[in-house]
């Protein structure tokens, strides 16, 4: 790869927008070309600077209630307030249905049943209030919590040191199996890791669904599925840590 080509691809490379082969070419070129490395380093530094030092403004307390109230207000008919409430409820339901349409589409688009299950469980866990049954950053609290709830004991890890802290776990059902869901956090992204006993052959796979990434592996009689809206590189890195 020439420098001219590589320089043009540095930003798409940084943004994880290249096909695997091209990504490998750029990575290879960067490792040996000082000129390109000198251009790339400040780009990476800028990203890290923004992510660690520019504020991410979370919605302030009260905004959620305020928005809900204004939605109801907008739909209120003076004569029948019960009706208004029903309409507001229907609308809130509709908006949440809209976000589910995205999922439905990915369902019909194909892919196997488990991946669809995993994705919908992940999205449900983020939209609802049921992300964690056992909120804890301590693997020695999370692991015993599953005792008596499952007929297997999940391998619970913590990767705080690598930037993927454990934040807890919950019970879930995937594809008709009771499964342990272990929840990790990477910056503000949630990673759900599902595991259950399975006699699937050992191996692994990666897939993207609707902006979410899924990494799957089977090992020692257990199926493992990690899902997140993280970029594929970081989720891959996380999965590699888990398999180590």
């Amino acid at each position: 790869m020439t420098c001219e080509t590589a320089i043009r691809l540095l930003e798409p490379f940084l943004d994880d927008e290249l096909e695997a082969a091209q990504r490998a070419d750029v990575a290879g070129h960067l490792a040996t070309c000082r000129t390109c490395a000198v251009v790339y380093a400040p780009l990476l530094e800028l990203r890290q600077g923004i992510r660690s030092h520019a504020p991410y403004y979370r919605a302030p307390d009260g905004l959620r209630d305020r928005v809900r109230a204004s939605v109801r207000q907008a739909e209120r008919r003076p004569a029948t307030s019960w009706r208004a409430i029903a309409i507001a409820a229907a609308i809130l339901l509709a908006i949440s249905a809209a976000f589910n349409i995205a999922l439905m589409k990915s369902r019909t688009a194909g892919g196997d049943a488990i991946a669809r299950n995993i994705l919908s469980s992940h999205v449900r866990s983020l939209m609802g209030t049921h992300l964690l049954d056992v909120p804890s950053t301590d693997q020695h609290t999370v692991k015993p919590w599953f005792n008596g709830k499952l007929d297997f004991s999940p391998d619970v890890r913590d990767f705080s040191a690598q930037g993927y802290p454990l934040i807890g776990g919950r019970m879930d059902y995937i594809d008709g199996h009771p499964a342990a869901a272990l929840v990790f956090q990477r910056r503000k992204h949630i990673i759900n890791v599902f595991t259950w006993p399975s006699n699937a052959p050992e191996g692994g796979a990666e897939l993207g669904r609707n902006g979410y990434q899924i990494v799957h592996w089977s090992r020692d009689g257990m199926a493992w599925w990690a899902v997140s809206d993280l970029n594929s590189g970081e989720l891959r890195q996380f999965a590699a840590l888990y398999q180590h």
């Binding site: 930003e11 798409p12 943004d15 927008e17 400040p42 780009l43 800028l46 990203r47 600077g49 923004i50 992510r51 660690s52 030092h53 520019a54 504020p55 991410y56 403004y57 979370r58 919605a59 302030p60 905004l63 959620r64 305020r66 928005v67 809900r68 204004s70 939605v71 907008a74 609308i91 809130l92 509709a94 908006i95 949440s96 809209a98 976000f99 349409i101 995205a102 439905m104 589409k105 939209m127 503000k188 992204h189 609707n210 902006g211 809206d229 993280l230 970029n231």
Partner: protein, 162 residues
């Protein structure tokens, strides 16, 4: 029940650069989102919602005529030294504190793509959807925004080390 509220607020906050305006924009955006719900054709819910937030914020900025196109001053924000020397921790700290200011100084069409890419970690395709722009435009805006941020930071670094 209100999905992506943090993402909506963060984008509105960076676009308006003001907490109160951002809250008003978010409130209005969710109302619009309900009203124009038919316009949602599936796909990425977050990008669709952020498109509504973005349009609401742009209308807001125009209405308030606070659309101050802070022009980029090449005199003061010219390119920095080609090869950054070793920085002391102090200088590095000052430099990072300046990031927020530099980001706020960008004009809104650059600022929004940086927020969507670096803070929401959206793909080019998602940003294109949210910003109603072709992917090529998104890529070039992002690239120019990064260049300007680097230049602005370099200028601050020079200030700090004076």
């Amino acid at each position: 029940m209100l999905p992506h509220l943090d993402a909506a607020y963060n984008l509105a906050r960076w676009m308006t650069r003001n907490e109160d305006d951002a809250q008003d924009v978010v409130q209005e955006a969710y109302l619009r989102a309900l009203r124009f719900f038919d316009g949602f054709r599936g796909g990425d819910g977050r990008a669709w919602l952020l498109a509504v937030v973005r349009n609401t914020a742009l209308t807001w900025l125009r209405r308030e005529s606070t659309m101050a196109h802070v022009s980029f001053d090449e005199e003061t924000h010219g390119p920095g030294p080609a090869d950054a020397t070793v920085e002391t921790q102090l200088v590095k700290g000052a430099k990072l504190a300046g990031l927020r200011d530099c980001l706020e100084l960008l004009s809104v069409e650059f600022r929004e793509v940086v927020v969507m890419r670096e803070m929401e970690e959206m793909s080019y395709r998602e940003i294109a959807e949210a910003a109603s722009a072709p992917i090529g435009t998104v890529m070039s805006r992002l690239s120019r925004a990064r260049q300007r941020l680097q230049d602005c930071m370099a200028a601050r670094l020079r200030e700090a080390s004076k």
